[in-house]
């Protein structure tokens, strides 16, 4: 799919070639396609002969299938096929090792008669229309043998957690590593337990797949994918095909937040069944089916102990984090990832535990680990600040660490202090009253409301992966940038275009960007906030290479050569990857949030009335798209703080939260004015562009900032998210 620069109505249309585009607030390249409804998402591709699948899901959360009767369903009008575990289309077991393939849930759909969670796929009906498939799906009679499910995280059985994708978060330093119990200098201490509930990604676009086979040995799959090339390899393994026989198309993704990188069971079933049927097949998850079949962030329980001197110097940090996974895959929520990067202490102990519950498989959700981890750590820091009667901003500045204490590497280009100081300045933090229930605000008109100010830090690691990009110069004076990497709303179309514009010295409207197609060079993953950091260096390099190939110093000269020689195009592909720098430095982005809340104690009604965030993310390629990313993270954090939670019926194990009327996330009216600013220098140790990611840091620390403000307003310390009205009464 391509987006043409000339369709862009931004202020850049008169940009001339001599000024730099990178760093300006250019409008999104894909803006027009999106406002006109012509951006096409996976489920919207029209293919002739398309048929529709609707999955049948389990109402019980644990047990087995005694028998299935599909007769009525098969005879219903329009029905083409009914699949169950007794006649599953052929699916091959993938290596599922990240290198060759990765699926979200290790158990393959319809692989046996066992039920592990409510909402598990137990069958699929295919019919000529969606309505008929859905109708017939309700006619499939399944006889279950239920067992009592475990859906309560508080009573689950926790064991030491395995590492998280190769990274072990267990860590002991100082007295914890030597085993000596003696820690001196402790003059103040807090110990508390913080909890979060299960959260759903809830992207606006439901998960969907269309599989279109060309014969039995080649397939085109339309599926929202944050990682196109790995998805391609994965489907090749699942379907027993050579990689090049699979094409993945994912030009636009309607939000993923971690839930759309790899195939989920309904998608796998779709691809396999389409081969069996010999017809293009579409399977769309309904909003309800997404609760179990599209991932979530596990509930967490974290116990934090902070010990300090009277002057506020941390002496000891203990952080124990618990999370849950499904019976059919392992995904710990790595909350303690943040602890050794935030604050220095001579004695640190980190531990992660994991329990199995009868729920769908959890996965990466925006800032996995960091989001709940910073909620606990930054709440605990606030509690310590109140205990010590030290300004929480000062406490953080005083205790920050210049090195990653677990990896034992210095941080590159860290400007955390600037975030805190500039945030405090912009917010007017010096006007804060030092006692709970005593803050007055100039913006506050209703005198029966309490006002509170709170702050918290933010952090997210700088990740970078290997990527490739191709650049093509055409005689019509345009440059095309091609990569499988994609834009799920992050602004990749735009920053890739801007990078190429600068590298080639062309105005932005002469650059075309094509993304999200597995035929294109590997653009890596849009996850871990690394698409920009990983892809733009390859784009910049490919631009240099294409000029070399043209033996020209400028794009204009290259175009001239094309016209004179009649040649069709100059083309070059370049690859970049992280190198030795990862052994010399630790890379993290930093930030600080400041907020004001009002609390109506009669009703328990909380409003966020003001928000200031200052971020240090290395070089800011486009302040407009970057600020929008941060703001998006902040509102998701507000959701986590105030309303997002998924629960299960304790008896049946069935989710009682299953749609957007029961799973709330913030609406327009919940959102105050959010001011986002950036500080700091390009991080040139990290990559030649000097850019660290920005997609996830926004959410980290948000819930803590709000809970800290609530304490300031009410004197009540809330340690369990979400902060429902009920807890404030």
């Amino acid at each position: 799919m391509e987006v043409n620069m000339s369709q862009n109505i931004s202020q850049n249309s008169n940009q001339n070639a001599t000024t730099s585009v990178v760093g300006t607030a250019a409008s999104r390249k894909d803006g027009r396609a999106k406002v006109t409804g012509t951006a096409t998402y996976a489920a919207e591709h029209q293919l002739s002969g398309l048929v529709h699948g609707y999955v049948v899901t389990s109402p019980i959360a644990k047990g087995r299938i005694r028998s299935i009767n599909t007769t009525a369903a098969a005879q219903a009008p329009g029905v083409i096929a009914v699949y169950t575990h007794q006649n599953s289309p052929q699916i091959f077991k993938p290596a599922n090792n990240w290198m060759n393939s990765k699926i979200y849930e290790a158990r393959l759909p319809l692989s046996d008669d066992q039920i592990h969670y409510a909402g598990q796929v137990v069958g699929m009906v295919v019919a000529d229309t969606l309505e008929r498939a859905r109708h017939a799906a309700h006619l499939v009679q399944v006889d279950y043998e239920p067992q009592a499910p475990q859906v309560n995280a508080r009573t689950a059985n926790y064991q030491p957690s395995p590492p998280w994708f190769g990274e072990d978060f267990t860590f002991n330093s100082g007295s914890f590593s030597t085993g000596s119990a003696e820690v001196t200098g402790i003059e103040a201490q807090i110990e508390a337990t913080y909890t979060t509930e299960m959260e759903l990604h809830a992207p606006m676009e439901p998960h969907a797949t269309i599989a279109h086979w060309q014969g039995k040995d080649a397939v085109t799959i339309y599926e929202p994918s944050q990682y196109v090339l790995l998805t391609q390899k994965t489907y090749a393994e699942l379907l027993g095909l050579a990689v090049e026989r699979v094409r993945i198309l994912s030009p636009y993704i309607g939000g993923g937040f971690g839930s759309k990188a790899f195939p989920w069971p309904p998608s796998i079933l779709c691809a396999a069944a389409a081969r069996d049927l010999g017809r293009p097949l579409k399977v769309v998850n309904s909003r309800r089916q997404m609760t179990a079949n599209a991932g979530h962030r596990s509930e967490t329980e974290q116990t934090l102990k902070l010990s300090a001197t009277a002057a506020g110097k941390l002496v000891l940090i203990e952080h124990l984090a618990k999370s849950c996974t499904s019976p059919v895959d392992v995904f710990p929520e790595p909350c303690t990832i943040v602890t050794p990067v935030m604050y220095a202490a001579p004695n640190i102990r980190l531990e992660q535990q994991l329990a199995v519950m009868n729920v769908g498989t959890p996965t990466f959700m925006r800032a996995p680990g960091e989001a709940p981890g910073m909620w606990a750590l930054e709440s605990a820091m606030d509690e310590l600040a109140w205990t010590l009667k030290i300004d929480p901003v000062q406490l953080r500045i005083m205790n920050q660490t210049q090195s990653h204490q677990r990896k034992n590497l210095p941080f590159s280009a860290k400007q955390f202090t600037e975030c805190l100081e500039q945030g405090a300045e912009r917010f007017g933090w010096q006007g804060r009253s030092p006692e709970p229930r005593s803050q007055v605000s100039p913006s506050q008109t209703q005198d029966d409301l309490l006002v509170g100010w709170g702050m918290a830090a933010a952090t997210f690691p700088g990740y970078r992966g290997a990527t490739s990009a191709k650049v093509r110069l055409l005689p019509d004076g345009t440059a095309h940038v091609l990569s499988s990497g994609n834009d799920m709303g992050t602004g990749a179309y735009t920053v890739v275009g801007m990078t190429a514009a600068d590298a080639l010295g062309l105005p932005l409207n002469q650059i075309r960007v094509e993304l999200g197609d597995s035929l294109l060079p590997d653009g890596g993953i849009a996850g871990g906030s690394q698409m920009t950091a990983s892809l733009t260096p390859s784009v910049a390099l490919a631009c240099q290479e294409v000029l070399k190939a043209a033996e020209a110093t400028t794009a204009a000269a290259a175009f001239e050569k094309l016209r004179q020689t009649g040649r069709a195009a100059f083309e070059a592909t370049a690859s970049t990857a992280p190198g030795e720098e990862t052994k010399q430095f630790a890379f993290n982005s930093w930030g600080a949030h400041f907020c004001e809340v009002t609390v109506d104690e009669l009703l328990g009604r909380l409003r966020i009335t003001r928000w200031v965030s200052v971020m240090n993310i290395g070089r800011v390629l486009n302040p407009k798209t970057a600020a929008s990313q941060v703001r998006g993270g902040i509102i998701m954090g507000m959701g986590q703080a105030l309303m997002e939670e998924c629960h299960f019926d304790p008896n049946t194990g069935f989710p009682v939260v299953y749609d957007l009327a029961t799973y709330h996330f913030p609406a327009h009216a919940d959102i105050p004015r959010i001011e986002v600013a950036f500080v700091g220098e390009p991080d040139l140790n990290f990559n030649p562009m000097g850019v660290r990611g920005v997609g996830e840091i926004g959410i980290t620390g948000v819930a803590a900032a709000i809970a800290n403000a609530v304490y300031h307003a009410t004197g009540k310390r809330i340690r369990s998210l979400p902060i429902l009205p009920e807890k404030l009464l």
Binding site: V35, G37, M488, G489, G632, H664, D670
Partner: protein, 478 residues
């Protein structure tokens, strides 16, 4: 008799559909006919991704574009109407500068990230554009998981400024403004049959009552914001639907010195504008009721007819001593709303009977000199949410500021919308003071035995029942 086709106008093109299900939602039809600009995010009316603009009437009876959730509107209900979807805003091949102003503004401010919500926002802004009121409220029914809403707010502001600078809503030659000025306002009758379904839209009350007598099993369809959920997800079949949208008696709002009479099928957004300022409790509750797209369809009759224990408007009507006009072929009767609900989703409505209108008295209780009245809704989210508890209060005071008449009505605390009658009686004759309210609170806390559900615990609800009354006192006396 040959079946009449189902006809409507989509982006200026008249469509004649035969053999479609009249209960198929407009969204499903758009998707099936390859018009994929309109998105489906939930199919439940919650997200607004499916928003389209439909020509309806404003409070003065003039044609107006109204934003609505296409996932909740059945095709039968759009027969004879004009619809604009996002595809209709731009013409293939038009230059950049010819994007619709709301689209251009959204591009300039970066109003979309993943873009999936964008067409819905565009259509909400589009409808608001021709009202000349492009404010935050116009997009309250659109959810976005990506942008943090700020760039969308900026786009709305930019459009407003542009209109203000121009001194007119639309630029000269705006084709939508032209279409608006020429649009028909009345809905034609409809008798549409598919193989298995029938959809009637009578235009006379008498015909409606006859149809109902003939088909007591028929489903009455008002705005469809409750019924539409079942249609969107095919949860049940609708062999026979009768639309209430074209019957004058059900569409009128009549005002006299002593009362206001609201037709049962008047959309809430029209009540909101036409009766604004008359009943503070009604204004306030309508403000918190769902979102714009839903209020453009939902009706008072539907909110009462659905008899949900968490319906937001019955408490208001209870607090205002409203009465209902019911009609069937057997005759009409007038009942107090307090006598209407008999149990969980049970009412006194007989087969063949319909709610025609709702009367709200405008007079004080005899002997009173001053009225204080307001309503409250506590939900988890700022807008677009279902109540944990809803409450509406009316206190009439005598010359000595003593309570002469009291109505304390609640939703979400019992199987039906309900009044705290014991406490109302206890209040009579007492001074309207914080002291009285404080004494009433423990009584209020114990009058109901609400349930615990995922929205709130029983204990929380009980405290809200009492605290909301205090909130009312504090707000009204400050």
């Amino acid at each position: 008799m040959p079946p009449t086709p189902l006809t409507f106008t989509l982006n200026g093109q008249t469509l004649y559909l035969q053999d479609v299900s009249p209960s198929m939602t407009l969204l499903r039809y758009l998707q099936q006919s390859d018009r994929t600009g309109t998105k489906e995010g939930c199919g439940d009316g919650d997200c607004g991704a499916c928003t389209v603009a439909i020509l309806g009437q404003d409070a003065n009876g003039n044609p107006q574009y109204q934003a609505m959730n296409s996932c909740l509107i059945p095709l039968g209900a759009i027969a004879g109407r004009h619809i604009v979807t996002v595809e209709g805003l731009t013409v293939e091949g038009l230059a950049e500068s010819e994007l619709h102003p709301v689209q251009a503004a959204m591009v300039a401010t970066g109003g979309s990230q993943c873009g999936y919500c964008t067409p819905g926002f565009i259509m909400s802004l589009f409808a608001a554009y021709y009202e000349g009121k492009v404010d935050d409220l116009s997009v309250e029914g659109n959810l976005c998981r990506c942008t943090g809403y700020l760039p969308i707010r900026r786009a709305a502001q930019a459009v407003m400024q542009e209109q203000a600078a121009r001194g007119s809503i639309a630029a000269p030659g705006d084709r939508f403004a032209t279409a608006l000025s020429q649009a028909p306002v009345s809905l034609p009758p409809l008798d549409y049959r598919s193989v298995t379904q029938q959809f009637y839209r009578p235009t006379h009350l008498q015909i409606l009552l006859e149809l109902l007598q003939q088909h007591p099993q028929a489903t009455l369809l008002a705005g469809g914001t409750d019924l539409g959920l079942d249609m969107s997800h095919d949860r049940r079949s609708f062999p026979l639907l009768i639309s209430l949208e074209a019957i004058p008696e059900l569409q009128a709002i009549e005002q006299t010195d002593t009362q206001v009479e609201i037709g049962a099928a008047v959309p809430l957004s029209r009540i909101e504008t036409q009766l604004h300022g008359l009943f503070p409790a009604l204004d306030e509750m309508l403000h918190w009721f769902a979102a714009r797209q839903v209020r453009n369809r939902a009706t008072l009759g539907g909110n009462i007819g659905t008899a949900s224990p968490i319906g937001d408007l019955p408490p208001v009507l209870l607090a205002l001593d409203a009465t209902l006009q019911l009609a069937s072929l057997q005759g009409t009767r007038r009942v107090a709303i307090a006598d209407f609900f008999t149990g969980y989703r049970q009412t006194i409505l007989q087969p063949g009977e319909v709610i025609v209108s709702i009367q709200i008295p405008q007079t004080l209780f005899p002997g009173a000199v001053r009225r204080i009245s307001n309503s409250y809704k506590v939900g988890k989210r700022g807008t677009d949410d279902i109540s944990i508890v809803a409450a509406a209060f009316t206190i009439d005071l005598d010359e000595g500021d003593r309570i002469h008449h009291a109505r304390l009505a609640y939703g979400g605390v019992a199987a039906t919308p309900i009044r705290a009658i014991a406490v109302e009686n206890w209040l009579l004759g007492k001074p309207w003071s914080l002291d009285t309210v404080q004494q009433a609170k423990p009584l209020l806390q114990e009058v109901f035995t609400p349930l615990t559900d995922l929205r709130g615990s029983a204990a929380y609800r009980k405290r809200l029942v009492a605290n909301l009354f205090e909130k009312f006192f504090v707000e009204e006396s400050s």
